[in-house]
């Protein structure tokens, strides 16, 4: 792909990909491509059966869930360096549980998740590094989600979790 040199440059600039060897980066680049999403457009929707792992390079991607009667509620935004669609790396989930929409003009790396999974299974050392990174992403998301769950700014009268 013509993107490859561009992709490698971006890989080198992202902490996420550090610790991987040049060979591994080359292999990843082979099944990655760049995606440009203009502001307001969806990257994917709830229920989509697409199988990509994304890393935000520029812009902002909102993770949204549709609430009948209230519209889409944004529950997280992925900033540059953040990962979107991390569940593709795990063997379980096969459809999107939330939508992802660009709220600013955005640029992302899209990695073929099936190819990534196969690569990790074949090369355990690489698999370990990738899974560790994914575990970090999930841990941070979980912390954010927990703090959101506590609804710290709710009025005392309506706080669901009482002090």
């Amino acid at each position: 792909m013509g993107d490859k040199p561009v992709l490698l440059d971006i890989f080198h600039a992202i902490p996420w990909f550090q610790q991987l060897s040049e060979d591994h980066l080359g292999l990843l680049a082979d099944f990655s491509h760049l995606v440009e999403i203009p502001q307001g457009k969806d990257l994917f929707k709830e229920g989509d059966k697409e199988d990509f792992l994304y890393v935000v390079v520029n812009g902002r991607i909102a993770i949204e869930i549709f609430f009948p009667g209230r519209g889409r509620i944004s529950i997280y935004t992925a900033e540059p360096m953040d990962v979107v669609g991390w569940s593709s790396v795990t063997p379980v989930v096969r459809q999107r549980t939330a939508s992802a929409r660009a709220v600013l003009d955005s640029r992302l790396i899209a990695m073929d998740a099936q190819a990534l999974r196969r690569l990790c299974e074949g090369d355990c050392a690489l698999g370990c590094v990738v899974m560790r990174r994914i575990a970090n992403v999930v841990a941070q998301r979980l912390l954010v989600t927990r703090l959101q769950l506590l609804d710290l700014f709710a009025n005392p009268g309506e706080q669901k979790i009482h002090a």
Binding site: P156, Q159, H162, A163
Partner: protein, 375 residues
């Protein structure tokens, strides 16, 4: 008998009935004489006219959660150790008016408060109680802000203090360094022996109150009896609290000690201890308006850190259970108080032990926290 001229520091002896003349002088000088007396089978601090009002021939038997007044086998007047009341209620009244407002033409105007200018003469202040007043002086009279009610009353009181020669069963003033003898801070100091009162002049006001009394020189028998009595008292404390200097750090370093929960299983959070404690100072404000909305008044009332509402705020209660509230009280009294006011809040009077319905004894609890304590 040659005339004995009195001056500051003079020590003399008087036959006991002569004390009535001292009280008479005080009344003439405009003081309301308050002393220990028995009312409704309880020992209280109330206005007294003379010796006849004092609890002669009585002592108290005290222990955790128990107070009994019993006849003693002598005719002394001041043997009985204090009851639930302390002198705190006169300097820091349980209820007092802060301000009153009246609405006139849409504006709120301040109404004059009922003039309340008491001049109290405290008769029979024990060393622990004197120490407690000194502690509250530090709490209520400060360089940045002052409580006007406390300051006004404090400046006008007369203190007749007395050495405590018969400490009670829950007393531990010797451990706290606050007794059982009076060193300073009095207008007159009284030591009761079998035949006489020994009086020491502590101030010009004390001198005034002792004018024209029929006094005798203190002879060596009485001095010896007094000294022996004081020594015996120091060794007959009902309770001991050891190594007091280490307590502030002990408590603040063991905020998660299992003992707190154990105490909480017994503590009723009833607030008795804070009411009888002569140094506890927390208060609340009540704002009340007349039905027509034209008058409003703010009242200051005693509060307690054991009250569930004490630490409640929008968003929840910071101390929602007894364990946290008991811990607040004890760590404040015996630890953080020192950082706030330069002294500990406890004077070793033992009231909190006697008047606790569950009989919780802070000397015992502190020792229990020493077990398995963190450094």
């Amino acid at each position: 008998m040659p005339e004995i001229k009195l001056h500051l520091g003079s020590q003399v002896a008087i036959r006991k009935p002569v004390l009535d003349q001292v009280l008479g002088h005080l009344e003439k000088a405009g003081y309301q004489t308050i002393g220990p007396c028995i009312k409704d089978a309880a020992l209280v601090y109330a206005p007294i006219g003379g010796l006849q009002d004092l609890p002669q021939g009585l002592i108290s038997e005290q222990s955790g959660g128990s107070y009994r007044i019993k006849p003693s086998n002598n005719a002394r007047y001041f043997d009985i150790t204090p009851g639930a009341q302390s002198w705190k209620q006169f300097l820091f009244p349980p209820r007092s008016e802060s301000f009153k407002l009246m609405k006139e033409n849409g504006h709120w105007l301040e109404e004059g408060l009922s003039e309340d200018l008491p001049r109290y003469a405290f008769i029979g202040v024990r060393p622990c109680e004197l120490a407690a007043i000194a502690v509250q002086d530090k709490v209520f009279i400060r360089s940045d802000f002052t409580d006007p009610i406390y300051k006004h009353r404090r400046e006008r009181i007369f203190i007749l203090a007395l050495d405590c020669l018969h400490p009670g069963d829950t007393c531990f003033c010797a451990s706290m360094g606050t007794g059982p003898t009076v060193e300073s801070g009095f207008d007159i100091k009284l030591t009761e022996l079998d035949d006489v009162f020994l009086l020491e002049v502590g101030s010009p006001a004390g001198l005034e109150a002792m004018q024209d009394l029929s006094v005798e020189a203190v002879d060596s028998r009485w001095l010896q009896a007094s000294a022996a009595g004081r020594k015996a008292a120091a060794n007959s404390m009902g309770r001991v609290l050891s190594d007091v200097a280490s307590i502030p750090d002990l408590l603040i370093n063991n905020l998660e000690h299992p003992r707190w929960k154990e105490i909480a299983a017994r503590c009723l959070s009833c607030t008795n201890c804070t009411q009888v404690c002569p140094t506890c100072f927390c208060w609340d404000v009540e704002d009340a308006t007349s039905l027509g909305g034209k008058n409003t008044m703010r009242t200051r009332v005693w509060d307690s850190c054991f009250n569930p509402a004490y630490s409640a705020q929008a968003g929840g209660n910071i101390r929602p259970n007894t364990a946290s509230r008991y811990r607040q009280w004890l760590t404040h009294k015996m630890s953080t108080w020192r950082q706030q006011f330069g002294v500990l809040g406890c004077v070793g009077c033992g009231r909190c032990i006697t008047w606790c319905p569950a009989g919780i004894d802070i000397t015992e609890e502190i020792e229990a926290i020493r077990v398995d304590a963190k450094e």
